[in-house]
Amino acid sequence: MLNKLLILARAIALGAVLSTVSLPAAADSVSDAKLEELQKKLDQSMKMIEALGARVKELEGHTSNGTVAAAAPAPDPQRLQAVEQKVAQIETANATRQTDDSGLPIHGFADVNVGNHNLYFPYAKGTNVGSLDFYLAPKLGDRVVSLAELIFETGPDGHVGTDLERFQIGYQFNDQATVWVGRFHTPYGYVNTALHHGVWLADSLRRPKFVNFEDKGGVMPSHTVGVWVTGAEREGNGKFLYDLYAGNGQQIQGGTLDMQTGGNGHGAAIVGARLSYQFIGGAVDGLLVGVNGFTDKVNDDSTNPALIRLNMVGAYAVYDTDTWEHIIEAYSFHDKNLNGSPGTHRSEAWFAQFGYRASWGVPYVRYERAMLDQLDPYFNEQTFGASYYRSALGVRFDINAKSSIKFEVAHTRNTDDRPATDYRPSDAEIGLPQQYDEILAQYAVRF
């Protein structure tokens, strides 16, 4: 019997230790001081309640014995109310502490697709699994911020791969300045830093092709591994936003741009900035305009690697209201070969998307155009680096707050004839059609 009790005691002790350990470590010193103060107040309040409780019992005892002490003062209702209110405040404060320490919730997004072409890799057809996106944003204190986006997704080869798409740890000095270090979405345009990987979030079924992620047909460095400073300053009826960043220069690997998560071999960097202004209120409430640019040194993984100075300048405008979502982004590239045959190359790409937020759904129309110089190794060596235009018409229906169905019909035409090079096979060998029509459906959820 004694042994059983001993075992039970051990179990309780271990459980208590484990349940304590399962909570995150101590809060910062400020929170501790506040908690200590709250604990003191709680202790005082509990003592007061006990005293009042004892007094009430005493009075009840007198009543039941028929000997009500006429001279005994009744408990002060106002004081009782004040005590109750104080206890309620302390309870809620403690409850908040429990929530802060109750572990890390996992949220995310997922999507599946059906179409006569794969929405990213047109050489594949039928049903395809899009991505399973786990988003984690552990709270590490008042100013220390972090986020991770871990994705399981189908790659160009049809196999499911895992990618730590974003991993950032930062420090928030104030609203005007937060510094992030890690792998982040490169701050250019609107789509790349507003819509991220969660497909459910976007009104459209997919991003414009040239601003898609590197492994989904995009030709721009949508991820950077480095340091990013960002902030905003309210100014009258609007807000200035800025982004400054520097990170590892990218490399083209197997026809796909890689952000060099482990550091790059040539030691060069990407450096860029974005400046935006958001109108708040008035006739242009919801309008956001901005300019951006970066300079990057990119090489490839061939035996005789090309080295390219990639320079981009761009501008964008977004009109985002309860009724409309219009997005326009335009980019101009001025690239320079740094070895091999010298030369400079100029390319342009832009898209315009117009959406209407009706009560029944969100219809949208989009046109995108990329005119990419094929003498520029930066575009020529990328599998999806051909010039193209695409017109698309789509609609989003929300089934409930967590799931949506989207449909899109699109026509795409590649306007470059891309024969095989020393670096990559021809588009025909890869199976990329010169032009194709798509009928696509997507079921996207958040959780």
Partner: protein
Amino acid sequence: MSKGRRTLKKNTGRNSLQRSTILCGAAALMLLAAWCPAADLRAGVSLEELPQGWHDDRARDLTLTALQGHRVVLTMAYAACHRLCPATMDEFKRMQRVVDARGEIVDFVIVGYDPKNDSPAVWHQYRLSRGLNRDNWHFLSGSQTATEQLARKLGFPFWTYDEHVMHESRAVLFDTSGAQRAVLGSRDPRWSDAL
């Protein structure tokens, strides 16, 4: 020798049983620890039990208990939301029309999910741009702690994805004494029916 082995086996068995019992107990306590915070999500939380320190869109202090005496419909929203929150505002407008027709007064309270971005000035602009100018509509901002506390007590689950707030469509109706009377959600076709 064999007896010793048997004894050893027996002891090992007992130790194993003890370990199992300890682990089961520990697991049960861990489950209990994990379950305890959920107990705070009890139904029927009154206005008095909610955090009280809020600022309206003119940066004036407002306590929720100050609204007692009228019925209160409370929801949570964020100003940059263009998907669910506009629909919630439409439901509130429909409810306003119903109570106007009855000659009643109901306070509509909208608490910001995102106090970092949704300052009183932002809410003030929000109501101006949408014509939500009635005095009985209160757009409130509070501390992050108070916001999370209120959301938890009233069952408004939310999480943030960068600058986006992932949330649901929901409102809570309180009677004139501040007691909770109904919870409205996306499954309720017309929230005004609850009035």
